[in-house]
Symmetry: C2
């Protein structure tokens, strides 16, 4: 186990109708709120009315930034910063899934940054010196953004999708009411499940061999996805299924799995480039790429980890090590497929023509991945296999 | 999954030589420190010198409360409060295991309470309105006190051992350096392992059937104890074993396992009474009582949970449900025994004479336990079986 500093400071309010605590939670931060959200879905389920009524009744002044898209754009961030400066915003409330929350986080950091916020993604995490406080009201499960300091933003002009991390961006509080996910489309539910699953895998497949408790906890979260994913998809109003997935999603990326070990993140690196170029849904991109990443990095040296995975996650008890590893990968792919997700990049509009440029971009400065380091040739091969 | 509020605010600094961060971590709280510790062990390993040098070098003024005993006494608490008031202490640093930390927490709460601190244990958690900030430097694994708001204190005059909980008592920071546990006696290491194991079981055996992810994480922690417990006992300087146990111990009782479900705590209730009357080491008392609690509460209605436990924790795949349950209990008892811990209450000085009074005291006001409610007769039977 490597050294680490652990601080998961987000207060989670989990359960039905926890939204009632919103005004109380906002109290320490001030009176002027920016509410950030996506499209109409929060209006359809009555959440928008509920929030604005709660704010108004408690004499909180609110402004709005709506229309935040999946794969949130730097343009929305710029727009949000402008509102925050013009109206002297004290606190941002993000109502939505990962895209909305990531957009809010970047606004929060950009507010204190004098130049263009896109610079932050090039300057790196330490360029963030301060951020507005943010709170979240989660309506889509998967990103884990509600309990961490990560944000991923897309720049459509440069065809880039880049990430920043800083503990200053961790939400001060997050309201997790599983009933808000009851009306999410099955397509999005499926993508969310893959997103959780992939977050766990990126930390599970690690070159750190001594991380026993972290690995067992990781498997616990994978088993939860396998059990409750199909249930949530079939019965989106099944509270227990949605609750288990929502909480698992937060635990998957709040630090619990990754502290004390090295983590991989190659598949996310590849997917970000693909979805920046083609605007693919993140979870769909991950579902397509993950089995191909697995097959590509599987070799004599890495086999031990796939055996652990096959046995503990997929309960494959028979066959030699190689068979167990291969079966585990097959089961992973079938799990994603059974969630109704495409299995090839071609199906989501990717063409062979651009693959070389994509691979070039992905490994622009250095190799990616820690479980197995990947250069341009490797990434190109994974992309081709996934086509 | 039940509703819950989650806030694990303690900052953990995990790894070799993290003690160097102590002055930096103390900065927000003030200049006047009370260092609380037990006997000579922290002097023997050089930790005392290291801490006092670090404090002095950073112009921090420190006072000392030493001699805190296992099953810490309310008298030590009273003494500590006196020092804090007399010398205007800003922050308490607990150096030791659960006993020292629990004593420091109660001093922190008692500082702001005008009457005798023992009152707090009768008035209940909400009587704590404020507390001095505390930090911990952990030297004994097991209690989990380094990451939660619980404290257990003994009153030898009334033969009582009582608990309080308040989030105000959560340490602001905890320094977890596994090398400090290298010189802990095997006896204490064993007791610590049982303590972790029992904390997990108290939350695992629950009447809440829908707590899948919490249950899988609980099993992860149990598996870690089973794997690394015997290693730490045989090779106390095995860093990985001590590190895995130390981190598992913190996770076992910081809220992660218990949020969203009902938890039991009957065995702890019984053990506290036993160790208040006989000054038994907490982990030893738990090891003796746990299998008897299991055997007593096992019935047709509760069997399903023991089957889950037997299969997932002890990998018992054959036999009918009852056999799996029974084997799981046997394996638990053997695990404790192999750690070198006595298996009967008689061995630790308990006599039959007092058992009735003990049972009376344990269920004084109401039944204990949530997985299976226990009245006086039940508790007496468990005690007799454990004799």
């Amino acid at each position: 186990m490597f050294d680490f500093n652990y601080m998961v400071s987000t207060k989670v309010l989990f359960g039905r109708n926890k939204i009632q605590m919103l005004p109380e939670e906002l109290k320490p931060y001030g009176k002027r709120i920016l509410v950030v959200y996506g499209k109409r879905s929060i209006k359809k389920i009555g959440l928008y009315d509920l929030i604005t009524t709660l704010l108004a009744r408690n004499s909180l002044v609110y402004y709005e930034l709506s229309g935040v898209q999946p794969n949130p754009r730097i343009n929305s961030v710029r727009q949000g910063i402008k509102i925050c400066r013009e109206y002297h915003i004290d606190c941002i409330v993000a109502v939505g899934g990962g895209s909305v929350i990531d957009c809010a986080k970047t606004i929060a950091a950009g507010f204190y940054y004098e130049s263009d916020p896109w610079d932050l993604f090039h300057l790196g995490d330490s360029a963030i010196k301060n951020a507005l406080p943010i709170g979240t009201i989660l309506t889509v499960t998967g990103s884990g953004s509600e309990m961490n300091g990560n944000a991923v933003i897309s720049n459509m002009e440069t065809e880039q999708k880049l990430a920043i991390h800083n503990d200053l961006l961790r939400p001060r509080f997050s309201i997790l009411d599983p009933t808000y996910t009851f009306t999410v489309s099955t397509h999005q539910i499926a993508a969310g499940i893959v997103d959780i699953f992939s977050h766990v895998l990126e930390q599970y497949f690690s070159p750190t061999r001594e991380a026993f408790v972290q690995n067992r906890i990781a498997e616990s979260l994978l088993l939860t996805c396998i059990k409750y994913g199909p249930i949530a998809l079939k019965e989106p109003t099944n509270y227990e299924a949605q609750a288990q997935l929502m909480w698992t999603s937060s635990l998957a990326l709040n630090g619990l799995l990754g502290y004390g070990k090295i983590t991989d993140w190659a598949t996310h690196g590849i997917e970000h480039a693909v979805s920046a170029a083609y605007d693919v849904i993140h979870g769909v991109g991950l579902a397509i790429l993950t089995p191909h990443w697995m097959n590509y990095v599987l070799n004599e040296e890495t086999n031990y980890k796939f055996v652990e995975y096959g046995k503990n996650v997929w309960n494959i008890q028979e066959g030699n090590d190689y068979t167990v590893a291969k079966k585990g990968i097959e089961k992973t792919q079938r799990f994603f497929k059974n969630l109704g997700i495409p299995t090839t990049l071609r199906e989501v509009g990717v063409t062979e023509k651009k693959l070389n440029d994509l691979a070039e971009k992905i490994v622009m400065h250095k190799e990616i991945g820690k479980f197995k380091k990947l250069g341009k040739k490797d990434v190109l091969m994974i992309l081709k296999n996934a086509l």
